[in-house]
């Protein structure tokens, strides 16, 4: 079935098709219509899922930690301040190795108050041990949720699926919606390795002294290191069933380009138009879409950029004192490599400002025209 739906509705379809057992959420701003859609479906009896309305995002995640420990499939959605408030529990979910899936609608963190698109909320949670997957369109949002449960349950780590506020969350576009049978054949029921069961007693959430703690973190890191291979398998299987796949990164544009543009989220869509136009004018340029931010696809990106002279990164986020976070991750991943292209780190579109084709072209032109970046942070579309 093909329908014209918003990003938030695409999330709701993804959750329905994943046969989620428990949803817990805090239903006011900065929450989006995702939870509204789902609670309506549950209220009208069309979705057989337990909905827990809690008093805060912190409690939303805490409730899911309990439910997931109990051995059921769990979901929540939040945004900006709500995600920040969840921070402590995010660490707990990953440390307890619970395969919870969370959708975060990228919104700026206040102050000043702003409910528009900005990746600083999800990226400020980058060290919480969650896998992070960024989406470019509403189809990818729905598909990524199905894939997220497969990945999460295979490595026993939580996954954050991320979409741009408004530009996807409130924008309607055609989406192919798989049938329940198709989804079931891709995503089998969750079978927890350590179910909470009185017949099979185990200890959960106990203290780990210095004698044991480090090994817990080592195992968590090893699980993260399994993600690239497992995500690749899951994506390939998804592609064979549904005809759509995404990879951890996607390269488009000219094969042997001298300049590469790296983007994530919806900026990629507009960049595709710009790069196509520039190529038609004879400019040697290509683009890379980064879908997976955690674990960072260092090797995949390196294979694509090793021949290039210069790389432009457009970040819709800011780590004050450093700059764009994708650029920062890329620079760190290149340090030990033989071939290190110059990285031009652009910061643009903060708080939902449009990243127009003109601005994207300006970033590419600036990268072509300069031997190396003149500043660590190149502000794009800033009113000075």
């Amino acid at each position: 079935m093909r329908r014209v739906i918003t990003g938030n509705q695409a999330v709701a379809y993804g959750v329905i098709l994943s046969r989620v057992d428990v949803i817990s959420a805090y239903p006011i701003t900065p929450q989006t219509t995702i939870v509204e859609e789902l609670s309506e479906l549950i209220g009208s009896g069309r979705l057989n899922t337990r909905f827990l309305k809690v008093e805060s995002e912190h409690s939303a995640m805490a409730a899911l930690i309990g439910a997931s420990t109990g051995g059921v499939r769990c979901f929540t959605a939040t945004s900006s301040q709500g995600l920040a408030y969840m921070h402590e529990m995010l660490h707990w979910a990953s440390g307890a190795r619970l395969p919870i899936v969370l959708v975060n609608v990228n919104r700026a963190l206040a102050p000043p108050w702003n409910i528009w698109s900005d990746q600083s909320d999800s990226l400020s949670q980058r060290d919480t041990g969650w896998i992070q997957l960024y989406c470019e369109n509403n189809q990818e949002v729905l598909d990524t949720i199905l894939q997220a449960y497969r990945i999460a349950e295979a490595v026993r780590l939580p996954v954050m699926v991320v979409l741009d506020a408004y530009v996807l969350s409130h924008t309607s576009e055609p989406v192919e919606i798989p049938t329940m049978e198709e989804a079931d054949s891709f995503l089998p029921p969750y079978r927890p390795e350590h179910p909470l069961h009185t017949g099979q007693p185990e200890a959960f959430s106990m203290i780990a002294t210095p004698e044991h703690f480090m090994e817990f973190r080592y195992k968590m890191q090893k699980a993260m290191e399994q993600v690239p291979a497992i995500a690749k398998t899951v994506d390939e299987e998804f592609r064979s069933r549904f005809g759509r796949g995404y990879g951890s990164i996607e390269r488009y544009g000219e094969g042997e380009a001298e300049v590469l543009l790296i983007t994530s989220g919806t900026v990629t869509s507009t960049s595709r138009i710009v790069i196509q136009r520039l190529m038609e004018r004879g400019v040697s340029v290509a683009g890379i879409k980064v879908k997976r931010f955690r674990p960072f696809p260092s090797e995949e990106i390196y294979e694509e950029i090793r021949g290039a002279k210069k790389v432009a990164v457009i970040d819709r986020n800011l780590s004050a004192g450093v700059g764009g976070i994708f650029a920062q991750e890329l620079r760190a991943s290149l340090y030990s490599k033989e071939e290190r292209p110059q990285v031009f780190g652009f910061v643009s579109g903060l708080g939902g400002r449009d990243i127009t084709p003109e601005l994207i072209e300006e970033a590419i032109r600036c990268t072509i025209e300069h031997h190396r970046p003149e500043e660590e942070i190149l502000w794009l579309g800033l009113k000075r």
Partner: protein, 203 residues
């Protein structure tokens, strides 16, 4: 690509109008993108919604700054808001008004169409007398004036997208289709722009 901007007041249903028209275009084989002006909507305050329709997937993810056509759900917005901002020459401006199209000649070199969507809405019991819901009537008028999308597709989209009063809303659209007033001022004829392509759906 066709780019359309809707002007209305919070609560009038500009966003729903954009979505319903998107679904109508979708039924005619277009790829579509419909979105509200991203913001905090307040009842009665000027609001906008946008629609892109193309025969290829829509990749442009920015606001519409230079629309091909504009739809105005509330005539009191004219003067209060620059409804023709960026509107392309010879683009359609469709206004909910009892006045004839030439009353709006001062807006510039555009094709003007008017329809009294308010009275059509009230006649069909849509909304209240003081707060009529005009968004479905105006789409019927859009179909006739621009010839870009068929009235049957509009009626089908209304039935699919609206929760209640499906018959009344579809009827309002058809009445507006017959009542809309417009004059073609450019060389562009109605039939030239009226094309349908149902083969583009598959990916």
């Amino acid at each position: 690509m066709i780019e359309i901007r809707f002007h209305g007041r919070g609560g009038q249903g500009a966003q729903v109008a954009s979505k319903v028209l998107a679904v109508a275009f979708f039924h005619e084989g277009y790829y579509v993108q419909s979105f509200p002006a991203f913001g905090v909507e307040r009842r009665g305050a000027p609001v906008m919604a946008f629609l892109r329709a193309d025969q290829r997937p829509v990749q442009l993810r920015v606001n519409i700054y230079e629309p091909d056509h504009v739809v105005v759900l509330d005539p009191t917005l004219i003067g209060a808001v620059d409804v023709t901002s960026g509107l392309k020459p010879n683009g359609w401006i469709l206004i909910n008004s009892h006045q004839a199209p030439d009353a709006f000649d001062h807006l510039g070199n555009f094709q003007v169409a008017t329809v009294h969507a308010t009275s059509i809405a009230i006649r069909n019991g849509l909304g209240s007398r003081t707060n009529p819901i005009v968004n479905t009537a105006i789409l019927g008028a859009f179909s006739k004036a621009t010839g870009l999308v068929g009235i049957d597709s509009v009626a089908l989209a209304i039935r699919e997208e609206l929760q209640g009063k499906k018959d009344e809303n579809a009827k309002a659209a058809r009445e507006a289709y017959h009542e809309v007033k417009y004059e073609i001022r450019s060389t562009k004829s109605e039939t030239d722009t009226n094309f349908q392509n149902k083969d583009d759906l598959g990916e």
